[in-house]
Symmetry: C2
Subunit: 164 residues, 2 copies
């Protein structure tokens, strides 16, 4: 991808707050919503989820997940017109979900970064059943517009989106 596309991808993933998470529910696809941040040198997704929720059980049982970030409906193109829904930029990452050990240094750094982005989540960190998971992209598919699809390796993802 060229610099313009890289910048479009960065803007997309950094500007949004929630993603669609695809997990496996007894062999069937299941989609749920998760707030996320990008974290660390390899630009992993970091999510904070309840142990009572279906997606958390599903990630633990089957850590290979899919995660999509979509531009806001009504996003305006460079010519000032609203982008048609079917042309909205979006990116889907296929990744591996890993629960962070809450007594690790990695957890403390991740929690701090997460709360910087979502201060209102503080109260949820005080609930016993919530966990932080990283989702590490193995590959991603970026659709920059109608018919403009690009495949990215984990290495390309990290290079374009690294946060550290």
């Amino acid at each position: 991808m060229d610099d313009t596309l890289n910048e479009l991808l960065r803007r997309l993933v950094r500007s949004r707050a929630v993603a669609a998470l695809g997990t496996l529910d007894a062999g069937e696809p299941f989609v749920s919503m998760v707030p996320y941040i990008l974290h660390g040198a390899s630009a992993q997704f970091l999510i904070h989820v309840s142990g009572l929720s279906a997606h958390t059980r599903q990630m633990l049982a089957h850590p290979r997940v899919s995660l999509m970030v979509t531009a806001a409906e009504g996003t305006v193109a460079e010519d000032g017109s609203a982008i048609q829904p079917q042309a909205l930029p979006r990116v889907t990452a296929q990744g591996d979900a890993t629960r962070l050990n809450s007594s690790s240094d990695q957890y403390a750094a991740a929690k701090s970064a997460y709360l910087e982005r979502f201060p209102s989540a503080q109260q949820m960190f005080e609930l016993p059943d919530f966990s932080l998971f990283t989702i590490s992209p193995r590959s991603a598919r970026f659709i920059a517009g109608f018919g403009k699809a690009h495949n990215l390796s984990a290495q390309a993802w990290a290079r374009i989106l690294e946060t550290a």
Copy 2:
């Protein structure tokens, strides 16, 4: 659910243009974006997709899919404050995907309804590889806010959301 919740669900699903579609990619979850409308007395989702795309192949191979509609980020609550990302209303339907036969009466009615909502899709109906699919909810899970989850049967879904 009470009338207030039913109305919140109707507003959510009718106000949005795109959904997150979860399909099965060789046994793994895969999430993609689809514009949608609700159509007919049982309030099926109706989507228009390219035969060249991964999700279309995946729906044909494994018709049991998941589809999520999420309120816009920054949606304002009744008290005038922006809803926190983790509390955004969203609904996930588990449903069955069926490709419509393009020479059927059902297709003509569906195409007409789709184009009424998305006039700019006209050009895509002229491409040979696009198809209309219905996704018929078997069940749905509506999360109206933080900790406010409700399960709906197909019958409840149709009763609340019927469009005809």
